[in-house]
């Protein structure tokens, strides 16, 4: 065996990169294989019939190459049975071919073969090829039966892992006939394992098959029985126990996962409630409640931040109430501080409580933990925005993932209306009637649309009307803005007057007017929008946009008016501050001159009597809290009066009324999804804006969402009918989220502006005494962190670094944008291709009247056929085995003859020569023979092996 050649092979194999060790010892392997082959050739009944073509030695070589290719292919196939990708197979095949070519050449060098043997080989080759073909076509089990060679390992065609394969090869590298018990059972085990896995997979995916339940149950039972029967049989000795243990753990794991999933579902709050609403009103109303629940979760997290990092430390470790001026109600307000009317306006004790900014002390650290409250306050205030931004964007991204390709809107308008418009969840006759009506309307509308698309007359009038409508709406928007500005200004004047002279209305004018505008304007817009004669879907979008503009305009007008107030307060504060400083100086100089000492104690004034500034932060916080509370009141009152009372009247006065109240004028209230969602979004905007100045606002909002969940779901179930316009739930989710994101951004602006530019009050809040609020961060960096970190910050804030960073980000955005555009194009291209392919397929099918699998499944579902026993897709293992054994027996019988052949002896010698080669022994060698050993059931293997007496050169 020329080592040079061997190296050659090795190199080749390395080039190919697969199973180097499998082929390296091709010498011994070859011989073994050849012997095996010869034997087989004789054994196979067809061998004689097919041959007869004389060949030279060169021919022989070639043929051997060809011969071995298929066989190897077969073996290879077995190895890669689990991943049945053709490509890979093809690869492997070519690889093998290379390897075997080399092997064949070497074989020639080692010994010469007679023509007879060649003939035999030819016969066998044919067979091998045939087997391969079959394999390619048939299921793996069939391959077993057809294989006349009866290679045991091949029978079990489904070797799962390399380890198994290796085991087999090593056993075959012994003398081929001496399969020992382990390897034999291993082969069988592999196949069993494979089958068990298959069944398991079937069990897992059974519910996704469009089969009849009967068939499914039957299959499931079969599979389960099979798995149970054979799962335990797998593995041997130690391995068996381990395997059994593994299987048991897997089962436990599945069970646990299942329980955990159930638990998780049970933990989702209000799932039942929402499902109930869903089943009565369809998915669109439910989408509002799901949105509400999502909002509740978000606010709960925000509340946890605020409460855990700001409120709780201040309560636990900060100074108690009454210890310093900012934590005490001033003397002038004290007698009325507990009045309910004052408390409802968030004055008195409310104002000087942890609910508002002013209460917090500016001590750098508090308590034994050295908790840095001011820093924590600032970071939480900013962190709330950061977290919300992250969550909203993540949710949007997830939603858009689920949305699939929203690209072809309008392609199937009619078909969608037809096939998907019925909401099968509807279980309430009233809702169903409504749905009928809305579907009919939408049919009619779309027909009218279609007709209108063809004829478009009187376009000038329509244009004029649309311009007019927009003009009117702009007017009302501007009017509402002005009204709010006016009212806020007036309230500032009122604030300067004595509180006692003001009526309740004058005190709450701002909130009242804003809520009123929010109540009156949307219906007004709707009325105006009827001038426009838009398609309802477009009209709805306009309506949403206008309401959004109204709310936003109101909010911002309110903010600007508030800023005016803040500026006025800042002026006032400056004078008070100067006065305070002046007073302190007076006190100090007086004290020192009177007592003649420099050790001056602080002035002994009761905290309630200290002169204090207006504390604009608390004032802003109070405004937002009042706004939120009045919003809650108005919403709840609207539901109570507009929905509940109306429903009561309609239902109970209907008996004694002149016209039909239910069908006529008042009828029942509709659940206004878009309005409710917008209300929720704006409420959240106010929370975001106000949370920095009133930490208690988040808690208040959590309460509000909690109650409105119960309240609204009750109201909806008891006194509402669904909206007639279908506002599609799945598509609109991201629309809501987009609005939320916009509101988040818009509420971020004023807060960040005040944090960055306005000076904090000098005598209240965690930042008092500092020039700017963010100075807290600087202080921390300077005092608490090591010096080098301060240096790093100095460098990092250098414009020289920031500018490139910004540039880099812009470039990144540009790049990502470009790539996304490319992807979009590619997507579009692919879509077109798919469509074309589909069309083609359709044409072909129509021409051929060919039924594919899908159609067959469908037919199977037809009632008259569904009772037939399911098509036997699962092969029955027992018959297989029987046949397999039958096919083996003749070969076994003829084996001795093959061995008696002179060649056989030769080969054996070669084997013994090759055996000493450590490589040959250790690594694995020829497939075929090893396989033959493996294939047989455990009992016959060892017996035969010993009977032949070949020494198994095992490791």
């Amino acid at each position: 065996m020329p080592s040079q050649k061997k190296n050659d092979i090795a190199i080749r194999m390395e080039d190919v990169g697969i199973e180097i060790d499998g082929e390296l010892d091709s010498g011994s392997e070859d011989e073994a294989r050849r012997r095996d082959r010869n034997r087989k050739a004789k054994a196979s009944p067809r061998a004689g019939g097919r041959n007869g073509k004389p060949a030279t030695s060169e021919d022989e070589e070639e043929e051997e190459d060809q011969d071995e290719a298929p066989r190897k292919r077969a073996r290879k196939k077995k190895a890669s049975a689990q991943d049945s990708e053709e490509e890979e197979e093809e690869d492997d095949r070519s690889v093998k071919r290379k390897g075997t070519k080399a092997a064949g050449r070497k074989k020639k060098a080692v010994e010469e073969e007679s023509e007879e043997s060649e003939e035999e080989e030819r016969g066998k080759k044919k067979k091998g090829r045939k087997v391969t073909n079959k394999k390619q076509k048939d299921e793996q089990n069939k391959e077993k039966k057809g294989d006349a060679k009866g290679k045991g390992g091949k029978d079990k065609g489904n070797v799962k892992d390399k380890k198994n394969k290796n085991g087999k090869y090593s056993s075959s590298s012994s003398s081929g006939e001496s399969g020992d018990e382990d390897s034999l059972s291993e082969g069988e085990m592999a196949s069993l394992k494979e089958e068990v896995e298959e069944k398991k997979k079937l069990i897992a995916t059974l519910r996704n098959k469009p089969w009849r339940m009967k068939r499914r149950l039957k299959l499931l039972k079969e599979c389960q029985a099979f798995v149970e029967k054979f799962e335990g049989a797998l593995g041997k000795g130690k391995g068996r126990k381990l395997y059994a243990y593994k299987v048991m753990m897997a089962k436990k794991m599945i069970k646990f996962n299942r329980d955990f999933d159930n638990f998780k579902t049970a933990c989702i709050p209000w799932e039942r409630k929402i499902k109930e609403v869903e089943s009565h009103f369809g998915s669109s109303v439910a989408s509002y409640f799901i949105f509400l629940r999502w909002m509740y979760g978000l606010n709960l997290v925000l509340f946890a931040f605020m409460f855990g990092l700001v409120v709780l430390p201040e309560v636990m470790m900060g100074l108690p109430y009454g210890s310093i001026a900012r934590k005490t109600v001033p003397r002038a307000e004290q007698e009325r501080a507990m009045d309910i009317s004052v408390l409802l306006d968030f004055g008195g004790y409310c104002k000087y409580s942890i609910l508002f900014y002013g209460f917090y002390n500016d001590e750098r650290t508090i308590g034994v933990l050295q908790f840095r409250l001011p820093l924590s306050y600032l970071l939480v205030g900013v962190g709330i925005f950061g977290y919300s931004l992250m969550v909203v964007i993540r949710t949007m991204a997830r939603n858009s993932d689920e949305g699939g390709d929203g690209g072809d809107d309008g392609q199937f308008t009619f078909a969608f209306k037809m096939f998907t418009s019925w909401d099968y969840l509807i279980g309430n006759p009233e809702t169903a009637d409504n749905k009928y009506a809305s579907i009919t309307t939408s049919f009619k509308e779309s027909i009218v649309d279609e007709q209108e698309n063809q004829k478009d007359e009187n376009i000038h009038l329509r244009r004029f009307l649309r311009v007019l409508a927009n003009f009117l709406i702009l007017c009302s928007l501007g009017g509402s803005g002005f009204l709010i500005y006016f009212v806020v200004k007036r309230s500032q004047e009122f604030a300067n007057l004595d509180q006692d002279e003001l009526s309740w209305f004058e005190k709450n004018e701002v909130e009242f007017v804003m809520s009123l505008l929010g109540l009156v304007c949307p219906p007004l817009f709707e009325t105006i929008a009827e001038l426009e004669e838009y398609h309802p879907r477009i009209a709805l979008k306009w309506q949403l946009g206008r309401i959004f503009a109204l709310f936003l305009g109101n909010l911002y007008t309110f903010l600007f008016a508030l800023f005016d107030e803040v500026n006025a307060k800042l002026e006032k504060e400056k004078s008070i501050r100067n006065a305070t400083i002046w007073g302190l100086n007076e006190y100090y100089s007086n004290y020192s001159s009177y007592h003649n000492t420099t050790d001056i104690p602080p002035p002994d004034i009761h905290p309630a009597d200290v002169i204090r500034g207006p504390c604009w932060e608390t004032a802003v916080g109070i405004e937002f809290v009042k706004l939120t509370v009045s919003d809650i009141q108005v919403t709840y009152m609207t539901i109570l009066i507009g929905d509940f009372l109306r429903a009561m009247i309609v239902r109970f006065l209907n008996y004694c009324w002149c016209w039909d109240l239910e069908a006529g004028f008042p009828s029942y209230g509709e659940f206004d999804i878009s309005g409710n969602v917008l209300g929720l979004i704006f409420n959240q905007g106010m929370i975001w804006m106000g949370a920095f100045y009133a930490p208690g606002l988040v808690g208040l909002n959590v309460l509000r969402l909690l109650t409105s969940m119960y309240y609204q779901s009750w109201a909806v179930m008891s006194c509402n009918v669904p909206h007639e316009r279908v506002f599609k739930a799945s598509k609109s989710n991201n629309f809501y989220m987009g609005l939320l994101l916009l509101v988040l951004f818009l509420s971020l602006l004023p807060v960040v502006y005040t944090i960055m530019t306005l000076p904090p009050s000098f005598d209240c809040g965690p930042f008092s005494g500092r020039e700017q609020m963010y100075n807290v961060v600087m202080e921390t960096i300077e005092n608490d962190l090591p010096a080098f970190i301060g240096n790093i910050f100095t460098y990092a804030t250098n414009p020289g670094l920031i500018l490139p960073a910004v540039l880099l980000m812009v470039l990144a955005i540009y790049y990502l944008n470009a790539t996304s555009k490319n992807y979009q194009n590619a997507n579009l291209e692919l879509k077109k291709k798919m469509q074309m392919a589909r069309d083609e397929e359709k044409n072909r099918r129509n021409n051929k009247e060919n039924t594919n699998q899908v159609m067959q499944d469908l037919e199977d579902l037809l009632p008259n056929r569904s009772l037939l026993p399911p098509a036997a897709e699962e092969e029955n293992p027992p018959p297989d085995k029987v046949r397999e054994k039958g096919s083996k027996s003749p070969k076994v019988a003829k084996r001795p003859g093959a061995a008696a052949n002179g060649k056989g002896v030769n080969l054996q010698n070669d084997v013994s020569l090759a055996a000493p080669n450590p490589k040959a022994a250790v690594t694995h060698p020829p497939g075929p023979r090893g396989l033959s050993g493996n294939a047989r059931g455990p009992p016959p293997g060892p017996v035969r092996g010993r009977g032949r007496g070949t020494p198994p050169p095992r490791h």
Partner: protein, 172 residues
């Protein structure tokens, strides 16, 4: 897999309860529930396709739409959350295929529209509108232009629909 089997039983329990409620005492020995009883389920009561649903899921030889427990399970599994779009569209097609001929032709579509617009006369579409509607639908979804919508065309349309999966559900 004894544990799994018993687990399954537990899961099925609530469905079985609902199912056996439908069987009144005198016909407890029957294995299938007649269609009228199934239709009285509140979840199906207001569904315009309730009869079709029964017929589609029934395996009875009498073609009377009666459901055995297995059929009932079939129904629930097709309308459950975990059923795939493929299964749902399969069954939707069968439900819409009123004459059981494997395609949705003009007659099927007309019946479908009538189901969707309700039983009352005033909500019905006029013949002219109906004709227009059906021709529009065929124009959109009948890719091979044979005048009917077959299963794969139907599935193609359905797969583009954003809210079919979320609305093709029945919750017991």
């Amino acid at each position: 897999m004894g544990t799994t089997a018993s687990q399954l039983g537990k899961d099925l329990l609530s469905e079985y309860q609902r199912f056996s409620e439908l069987l009144s005492k005198e016909d407890r020995n029957l294995t299938s529930v007649p269609m009228e009883k199934v239709l009285s389920l509140p979840e199906l009561k207001s569904n315009p396709f309730r009869k079709r649903i029964c017929h589609v899921f029934s395996t009875s030889d009498m073609k009377d739409g009666s459901l055995t427990f297995e059929d009932f399970l079939d129904l629930l599994s097709a309308f459950s959350d975990s059923a795939t779009l493929e299964i749902k569209s399969h069954y939707a097609f069968r439900i819409f295929d009123f004459d059981d001929d494997g395609t949705l032709d003009g007659g099927d579509l007309e019946k479908l529209v009538n189901c969707l617009t309700g039983e009352t006369e005033d909500s019905r579409l006029t013949p002219e509108e109906m004709r227009q509607l059906i021709s529009n639908i065929l124009e959109e979804s009948d890719i091979d232009k044979d005048g009917t919508v077959n299963l794969s065309e139907f599935q193609h349309v359905i797969s583009r629909s954003p809210d079919f999966v979320s609305s093709f559900k029945i919750v017991l």
